[in-house]
Structure formats: C-alpha cells, structure tokens
Point group: C2
Chain length 151, copies 2
C-alpha cells in the first residue's frame, strides 16, 4: 500500500476527508509546488494541518478553500488580495463588512473585465466576418492594408 493510499483510507468518511498534497493538487488543479507556495504566501486562513511525519493533510474544507482561491485567481485577483481575505477569515466573525467590500470590489473587477472582453470579441468577430466574406467572395479585395498591404 502506498503512502497516498494509506492517507486516503483510514477513518475518512464523506465530509471528513484527509488528502495528501498530491491528491489535493489533483483535485484542485494546482500543482504540488503551487500548493506549498500558496501556504508559504499565507493564502490559507490557517496553515494546513500536518500528520505525525510533518506531511500536509488537506481537509475537505481546505479543498473548498482552494476552489475559491482558484476562482479568485482565475478572475485575476492578485495573491495579496487573496491573502488579505484569508487573514480576515482567519480572524473570525466581526469583519464581514471588509470581506464584503473586498468581494464587491472584485465583483466589479470581473464585471468590467467581461465588458472589456466583450468589446474585444466584437472587434475580432467583425474582422472574422470580413475575412469570411472576403474569402467566400473568392479572393483579392483587400480590407485593410498598411501603406500598400492588407491586415
């Protein structure tokens, strides 16, 4: 039995998961390196638990937290902001207003990112349509050219 298998078995029931860093990596889509890095960077409200041998043990709560983290990162939240949120969570109840503010600001960020991307998409789509029409028309009919060329 491998160490991983040993860690996965035991007294673990649903809602009481104990994962090795390798398994947590697999589940979160982050690399093992990234998980250690996140911890070092203080992105967890509290450091991940360890077993007798000093190895990290990820709970289902940790995995959920990581899922939130990947969403925040995936939408461009910088690590310092995530760290801030983590420390607020670590501090317990009483700072909900600040957490809410942080989340709302990021919500606005995402909204504006989506708007930007939609603008870009519109422009690209316009160009795609031009090229499609032009190619359907069978050829030479330059759309947009540099001093004597076509873009």
């Amino acid at each position: 039995m491998t160490q991983s298998a040993a860690a996965a078995a035991g007294t673990a029931g649903p809602g009481d998961v104990r994962l090795t860093i390798g398994q947590a990596a697999e589940r979160s889509g982050l690399s093992v390196h990234a998980l250690r890095f996140y911890e070092r960077e203080g992105l967890f409200p509290s450091p991940v638990q360890r077993d007798a041998g000093g190895r990290r043990v990820y709970s289902d709560w940790d995995i959920e937290w990581l899922e939130l983290c990947t969403r925040l990162r995936g939408s461009g939240m910088p690590l310092p902001a995530i760290r801030r949120y983590a420390t607020l969570v670590a501090a317990g109840t009483g700072n909900e207003a600040e957490r809410l503010g942080l989340l709302r600001r990021h919500q606005a960020e995402i909204t504006s990112q989506i708007a930007d991307l939609s603008g870009c998409l519109e422009i690209i789509s316009f160009k795609v349509k031009l090229y499609e029409e032009r190619m359907a028309a069978g050829g030479p009919d330059p759309i947009w050219v540099p001093p004597g060329q076509t873009s």
Copy 2:
C-alpha cells in the same frame, strides 16, 4: 514651438496624421517605452517610419494598428501571436486563410475566457449575497468557517 508641436502641424490634414512617439503613446494608451518595445518585437507589419532626424513618425494607419494590438493584448493574445499576425499582414494578400484561422482561434479564446469569468462572477456574487443577507440580519450567523471560523 516644441518639437512635438512641429510634428503635429505641417502638412498634416485629417487622414494624413504624423505623430511623434509621445503623441502616439498618448493616443494608444501605451507608454513610449512600450511602443518602442513593440516595434523591436516585430509587432508592426513594417517598422514605423522615421523623419530626417531618425525619429519615429506614426501614421493614422499605425494608430489603428496599435488599437487592434491593444485589443488583442487586452484579451490575452501573447506577443508572439500578434507578431505572427503582423508578419502575415506584412506579407500581403494570399494568406487570408491563416489570418482568419488565427483570429477565429482567438475569438474562441475570448469566448471561453468570458465563460470562465462568468462562472467566477456567479460564485463571487453568491458569496456577496450571503454576506449581505447576513449583515442585514444583523450579525453573528457564520456562513462558512475554517475548523471553527468564518470565510
């Protein structure tokens, strides 16, 4: 009269713009450094023209190109891909299929980015709503806690 002013005046009418790098920077929203960097990186189909003194002169075509570039960059297209597109444009007509392919791939990229962001937004919005309700309810009612805390 400053050099910039001199460059802006002269025989320039609308549709026949001659801008200094500083003006081009202002118009494109890129820095002067970035403009030179883009040129060095081959992101222009052909190097920007120069005046007698060796200074860059940006035409309205260059500015339009830069606008496209910032859209592409803003939607995450890496510089090498933009360079590729630029070389296709530089090569003139005959490679429309490849240009179209490049644009279509990026179009798909943007679409999936938007989908991702929408997913993130949904999650954040859900959390925002939770916190709002909780704060409206006036207080202590932990939503999601680390082994004994609240996120």
